[in-house]
Subunit: 441 residues, 2 copies
Amino acid sequence: MRRALAEAVREALRTGHLAPGTRLPSSRRLAADFGLARNTVADAYADLVSEGWLKARRGSGTLVADRMITRPVLARSATEPHGDPCHDLMPGKPDLAGFPRAAWLKATRRALAAAPDDALGYGDPRGRPELRAALADHLARARGVYASPEHILICAGVSHGLQILSGVLAGRGARNVAVESYGLDRHWGLLTDAGLKTLPLPFDTHGTDPVPPVGADAVLLTPAHQFPVGTALQRDRRTAAVDWAGRTGRLVLENDYDGEFRFARQSVGALQGLAPDRVVYVGTAGMTLAPGLRLAWMALPSTLVEEAVAVKGHIDSCEVFSQLTMAEFITSGAYGRHVRAARRRYRDRRDALVAALAQYAPQVRVIGTAAGLHTVLGLPTGTEERVLQSAAGQGLEVAGLSRYRHERSLNAMADALVVGYGVPSDAAWPQALSALVRILS
Amino acid sequence: MRRALAEAVREALRTGHLAPGTRLPSSRRLAADFGLARNTVADAYADLVSEGWLKARRGSGTLVADRMITRPVLARSATEPHGDPCHDLMPGKPDLAGFPRAAWLKATRRALAAAPDDALGYGDPRGRPELRAALADHLARARGVYASPEHILICAGVSHGLQILSGVLAGRGARNVAVESYGLDRHWGLLTDAGLKTLPLPFDTHGTDPVPPVGADAVLLTPAHQFPVGTALQRDRRTAAVDWAGRTGRLVLENDYDGEFRFARQSVGALQGLAPDRVVYVGTAGMTLAPGLRLAWMALPSTLVEEAVAVKGHIDSCEVFSQLTMAEFITSGAYGRHVRAARRRYRDRRDALVAALAQYAPQVRVIGTAAGLHTVLGLPTGTEERVLQSAAGQGLEVAGLSRYRHERSLNAMADALVVGYGVPSDAAWPQALSALVRILS
């Protein structure tokens, strides 16, 4: 009651209903009027006096303090989300309806029961040891990554990881980072925010040539599944990239954002396994589970750990329960089961897309390996813009390949669409596919 | 089997057991030797070839690729946690054994069941709307904070909040931030990291004089419970601080780190309620629940929201399930119940401390209001260092007041200990208290 009364008076003051200098009713009278205990009213008044809203004058009661209160404008900010299009076929987003809620909750229950008290405090800046141990084991098996838990750093998403790496590079005096000619400009932006310059690498019909020019201090690659083009880095170029790093003492930054989703029989392990002391591996739960978890990880060369920790900060900035839950999720086998089921579902979607195009739009060429949550569709020259407009007219959100081109790239790819098949629910997918085929046929 | 086999070969290559150029047994022979299907061996070889470990020569079988593999040094990092002292009486840390695990899990279950699918995706950079709405309501009632959900920004701890605010101030061309003469140097460090200079404010026997000198662009205060001194900002000085901000158009940054823990009958609301358009309110779940949640919040003047969002980043960097769980925890009333129970427990501890000192160490003066998770004990002049050494000898981790002094502070407080009573479990507290009294009596 005392708090409610104080808040009611504050509201009256804020909205200008009680002018400065106004004398308030005595606590005795207000108590009688509202049927409250007199102490309650006196306490509420005392609270407001000590907060500076009111002033008490001996002999003249309680007055509204002599100051102006301004009310903030409660405008809705420009960042308010707007309505969704009919079908979201943007790349880089998983099927959120497929998030394994029941299994995740079960893992949370177990993790909460097992966590020692001190796990809830300020944590090791590298992240929870349970998760780093689970990841070291899982990544070795699933991706051929070679790292001990001591060299794994948990971060709040791939962007956070790249931010940390940018800080480390800048701190070492690096100036230039070679990047693929096609990619995410918000990732390049993280590098430039740290004062680094991005140098786009050339590519040919076999994909990116990953050996950076003289002057590059590192190279950022998506070797298993180039984003967004979809090709895998060729065997001899994988070797060339790590050889460059070994020869020059520079670093390869490997963004393995969807490496667990490869549909062909032959899998491609992480580049990191070839040279753990020269390659930084970056992986994420954002594609296999959900971006909202803000959970990614890096396997660092041992010489980089201390610098990366210093950039991340003196305490772990990542939430502890999701880390403990993820550790339990991996070690119980639930993560493996979930990834296998998701892989089957995404593969089926891609197969349906390829089959539908072969039948109804045979002029469209499917580019890239059978992997991940998106594919690239080559279009007849000069039609990308028209196809995008026609897609927008159908309520289809889809990207043109040209938007991913680095502005200083020396060459350009032919017209193409980048189609993500991750977002639509199983129920919505057939309609989304029909709409896509309609605009392409 | 294929993966296990590939990993076994990788391990042999990494550790130098298979030299470059070595010819591997044919897949047929290896399959026969180990009782495997020949396809399994052939697939594993193909994986390793495509990863660059092996090379296949038509007619001469499979060879180890011609390159050196270095093994990272698996040294333990310098940040490895070390053994705890007998009793941790450092301030600023809550009782982690008191974390309400069962209630939190219940709230997680409900939050997971209720969350829409798109909550699991890339979120509004301000944080989940459910949590911002719950906080707007809760903070108004509990702390007299006046903010609509649109003006609340979720952040990963108070440090993250201060980092964001430092970025906003630096982006506006600010150069100097006035700070209290005693405080946390890691908070000051966040300001200086952004290129801002900290100007320590003078204080007198009534506490900090919060009106900044000419040239200050903002002032950072702990008005409800000065950290670490423990005094509350006086009534007329509360008013003076917001009047300064209103007159000069500058900002007050209010760090309300433990505002929910006040033990006296009279509560002090947030400064922010006096001038929501000039005061940034920063609150946290780190003291009421657990630092590991990495969950804090800011109530921003409407003119600051867009800039703060730009500094935080284009997506929400805070984990979604803890946000949804916290929203459910607040709206269900569980948070209020937990805070009241924790308040009673901390009050009892403080009462026991004060009573024990009165009886056994009457020369020790208790400084500051009855509030929060720590208190300051005034010592005879010149004894702080000796008392700290004697505490260390007893396995008691406790801080001297002098370590919190800003290096450019014009005046200095008398010798004192800063004693946190949050960390010990209920079972350990009586022993910790005895040990403390022993070194002081």
